[in-house]
């Protein structure tokens, strides 16, 4: 096996564009997933019971099936029910919904872990439901769920690779296509592995640093 580095240098612009798509989809899906996941967790916590139960069912289905099947359903099955999406929006939507299911579980556990006494104390001093959520639940929960959220973000970087299967032009698709054009599969896949490895390690380190910085806000 020969290792040809010049292949990689010549294709740098293509690699960078693939990386941009990966990073863009990752960040967007993480942000959307957190927002949607929070809404789902809040509805399950505060909403009417039938709504909570049906959301629970949706979350269980999303967490119990492979992401690849979900994305196939959306991308190939979607047009049959009037949802025709291009690969990038389909990938972004699919990954965000998938992420939301996991984030909602993290937040649900977070809500449950905030000591009841704090909420009761807030009710006693006359805070409204909205104020309790904004001033007590969210700040206290944030510290509790931060490690799992970082962990989920790391899982999501890795899941973006799956989107290459529905032809989203992200890093895995671009770099492995490059490999087959240049007949340098092993070189390009090694490069790809190193890129993801670096991203995951960086995300993990950033997460730990953030936890340390925010640890002064920890209440318990």
């Amino acid at each position: 096996m020969s290792f040809d580095g010049s292949v990689i240098l010549a294709a740098l612009p293509a690699i960078l564009s693939g990386l941009t798509v990966t990073l863009g989809i990752w960040v967007a899906a993480t942000v959307l997933g957190i927002a949607l996941g929070f809404v789902v967790a809040a509805l399950r916590h505060f909403g009417p019971r039938p709504l909570g139960l049906s959301l629970r069912l949706v979350v269980e289905v999303l967490r119990g099936t492979p992401f690849l099947i979900q994305i196939f359903l959306l991308y190939f099955g979607g047009p049959f029910v009037g949802i025709s999406l291009d690969p990038v929006p389909a990938g972004l939507l699919g990954l965000s919904v998938y992420a939301a299911a996991y984030f909602s579980e993290i937040f649900r556990a977070g809500f449950a872990a905030v000591p009841r006494g704090h909420v009761e104390a807030a009710q006693c001093v006359g805070l409204s439901q909205a104020q309790i959520v904004r001033r007590i639940l969210i700040p206290e929960m944030t510290m509790l769920v931060l490690p799992q959220c970082v962990n989920m973000a790391v899982i999501l970087v890795k899941e973006t690779a799956v989107l290459s299967i529905i032809a989203v032009p992200e890093a895995t698709a671009v770099i492995s296509a490059l490999g087959s054009q240049q007949y340098a599969f092993v070189e390009s896949l090694f490069l790809l592995a190193i890129i993801y490895w670096g991203l995951v390690e960086a995300c993990g380190r950033a997460g730990s640093a953030l936890e340390t910085r925010l640890s002064k806000f920890r209440f318990a």
């Binding site: 096996m1 269980e60 289905v61 119990g64 099936t65 492979p66 992401f67 690849l68 099947i69 979900q70 196939f72 359903l73 190939f76 099955g77 049959f80 029910v81 970087v157 890795k158 899941e159 973006t160 690779a161 799956v162 290459s164 299967i165 895995t172 492995s176 490999g179 599969f185 092993v186 896949l189 090694f190 790809l192 592995a193 993801y196 490895w197 995951v200 390690e201």
Partner: protein, 214 residues
């Protein structure tokens, strides 16, 4: 969907279960070795083990699978795609299981080990009678969780050409032009398998708790 096609899907689901179970088992063996290396006092064992865990947990499984699938022929090993898939799944789960086991070993209460020491148990007896059984019991929930993750992740081996549940659904969706139906059925089958595994896991946990000594 005809009964015949459904039977095809069921068989493919069985294949998915067999491949996942094999990967979990192989991964457990490798994971035990890696965990032992990581807990070893010798740095030349610890370092490679840490690198192994970090790499296989830091790279998407899809990239690992493509890498192994293309690397093996490049170094002169021509193997069927199922072998490449099994190697990929096993190595990936081994890295996660090694970390789970390490967590289990580190959560064994120190007091129990001190008591064993006081009672005059040899280091090997302490390991085989106290540390290992307790650590393994503490790892059971994580192992069940890992089994579910691998069952879902095994859908990715369809990409390297293994005809398991996802690939079968793909083939049938393409030939019948009914993607909604076949992907939904595949999703339902994954869900059913995972629920069974989770139920089996909680039964095992309950049985272990009943048999607990302390």
């Amino acid at each position: 969907m005809t009964a015949q096609l459904f039977e095809l899907m069921l068989k493919a689901a069985g294949y998915t279960v067999v491949i996942s179970a094999a990967s979990i088992a192989i991964g457990l063996v490798i994971g035990i070795l890696v965990c032992a290396a990581k807990l070893s006092p010798r740095p030349w064992l610890r370092w490679p083990a840490s690198l192994f865990v970090s790499f296989f947990r830091g790279v998407p499984l899809l990239v690992q699978l493509l890498l192994i699938y293309n690397l093996l022929p490049a170094i002169g090993l021509t193997v069927p795609s199922i072998v490449a898939a099994l190697i990929g799944l096993s190595l990936c789960t081994a890295a996660y299981q090694a970390e789970n086991l390490r967590g289990g070993f580190q959560s064994v209460p120190r007091g129990l080990l001190e008591a064993a020491d006081m009672a005059g148990l040899s280091p090997w007896q302490q390991f085989s009678r106290i540390r290992a059984p307790i650590a393994l019991r503490l790892t059971v929930p994580a192992l069940v969780n890992e089994a579910i993750l691998i069952l879902k992740a095994s859908s990715l081996i369809s990409v390297v050409g293994v005809i398991e549940l996802t690939r079968t659904a793909q083939n049938l969706a393409a030939s019948t032009y009914e993607p909604l139906l076949f992907y939904s059925v595949a999703g339902g089958l994954y869900l059913a398998i995972n629920w069974l595994v989770a139920a089996g896991g909680s039964l095992t946990e309950r049985a272990l708790r009943r048999g607990r000594l302390a």
